[in-house]
């Protein structure tokens, strides 16, 4: 019942609306940072907010398949927008870190090599590049079944993103663990599904 209503509603939402909605935090955060809305240290706040939104979009993207299989909610047509907007936030997050935060070119490179949490974050970013480049209909057609295999990189990207967050916090903090748990949970839903696929057939 509820699933059917959500599906009906979702069909009427143009994907462009999702792109606009998900891109909106970037200009809003920059405006707030420049006008004092992010507190007396806006650079760190900007960096952290952008990173968190990227993680949230990755979690949302990973939820699409389990929602369809287990709850009958079909939001598949929004997944590309979620993925590309996650990448967009990661790029801006990276630029804020490099240009506004670290500022020193030699130091940026040194941090990538020397600081494990930076290395992990950079790895996640690098893995996202082929995904962003192939997030279009032409690439989808040309790659055929290989496209799906390639885009499983998302799983690694999300896990690395959560580890990146976990690794940079001080003390024992709940928030990064919540992201990691959500991501591992969404991945676990897929693992259980694989051997059952043939037996269950069309599912719910």
């Amino acid at each position: 019942m509820i699933a059917a209503r959500i599906n009906a509603l979702a069909r009427r939402v143009p994907t462009a609306a999702i792109y606009i909605l998900c891109a909106l935090p970037v200009p809003v955060l920059f405006y707030m940072g420049a006008t004092g809305g992010l507190g007396p240290e806006p650079i760190k706040a900007l960096e952290q907010e952008l990173g968190k939104i990227a993680l949230q979009l990755l979690v949302a993207g990973l939820a699409i398949t389990p929602l369809r299989r287990h709850a009958g909610i079909n939001l598949l047509r929004f997944r590309r927008a979620l993925g590309l907007m996650a990448f967009f936030h990661v790029v801006v997050h990276l630029l804020v870190w490099a240009v506004l935060d670290v500022q020193i070119v030699a130091q940026i490179w040194a941090d990538i090599l020397k600081r494990p949490y930076v290395t992990v974050g950079m790895a996640a970013f690098v893995l996202m590049i082929p995904l962003a480049l192939t997030s279009n209909d032409r690439a989808l057609r040309r790659l055929g079944p290989r496209w799906r295999v390639l885009h499983r990189l998302t799983y690694g990207v999300a896990v690395l993103g959560a580890i990146h967050f976990l690794w940079l916090t001080k003390g024992f903090q709940i928030e990064p663990l919540a992201y990691l748990a959500a991501i591992l949970g969404l991945l676990a839903l897929r693992i259980r599904r694989l051997p059952m696929k043939k037996a269950v057939g069309q599912g719910s």
Binding site: F30, G33, A34, G36, G39, P40, E41, P42, I43, K44, A45, L46, L100, D101, V102, Q103, I104, Q107, A110, D111, R115, P116, Y117, W167, L168, T169, K170, G171, F172, Q173, I174
Partner: protein
Amino acid sequence: MAYRWKNDLSAPDATPEAVFMNRRQWMAGMAAGVALTGLSGRARAAGEDAGLEPNSWEDITTYNNYYEFGTGKDDPVKYADRLSIAPWEVQIDGLVDRPGAYAFKDIMARMTIEERIYRFRCVEAWSMVIPWNGFELADLLDMAGVQAGAKYVAFETVLDKDAMPGTRYPVLDWPYVEGLRLDEAMHPLTIMATGIYGRDIPKQNGAPLRLVVPWKYGFKSIKSVVRITLTDSEPPTSWNKANPREYGFYSNVNPEVDHPRWSQATERRVGGGIFSPRIETPMFNGYGEDVAGLYDGMDLTRFF
């Protein structure tokens, strides 16, 4: 033994009310061509020379690490009001001649309050300049009478689980504890702060009294102190217990010894906006002339 250390700036230089109440507006006004008064002009010149232009009241009181109230920088200013600080007592015990519970108001009656404008360097590589008001810790310890066998001083922060939402999570092993070697504690730079900009210290900054050790990373400057214990062995410290590889007992500001996860060579002064530049972190946070002698012959990469 108050006034053993002299500020680079004098109090009137740092505290024109119009400046600290709304520094950003004041700066904007200056940029717009508002004439400089003699007073603020002198403060700026002296401040820039010494790198000691104090942060605004707003910066100092809204951007805090006080994990008992939450790990967000704005959690302390949001929740610290729940903490009740009157009446307040400080238990002073261990190797002292006159142990006991000292009432805060009695302590204040006996101490000489002076202004100390100090650089404050957080282990997270941000910094501020803060015009504290307070008294030398040495004077408080002398009041209790330090015994000959004492070698270290242990401190403890108040733990009020109802008032402190952050303590519901095991971010650290509560209560927060810190420690100094006795010579560090008796050093004239080491103060117990009870005010900022001439006002009572706000709760998010560690009311009613907190330690300030300007040549060490900020987490050594323990807030809202309820207990001071003189000991003959090195006391446990919270961050060292949580992660001994990252946080040592000494935790002196040292640009040459990186935190394992980030560089300590540079810092960013809070309040500089979105294009705030990085500045180099000086050894001992710029107080080397006063304190380097405390660590003669010690390998500071080992005793970090």
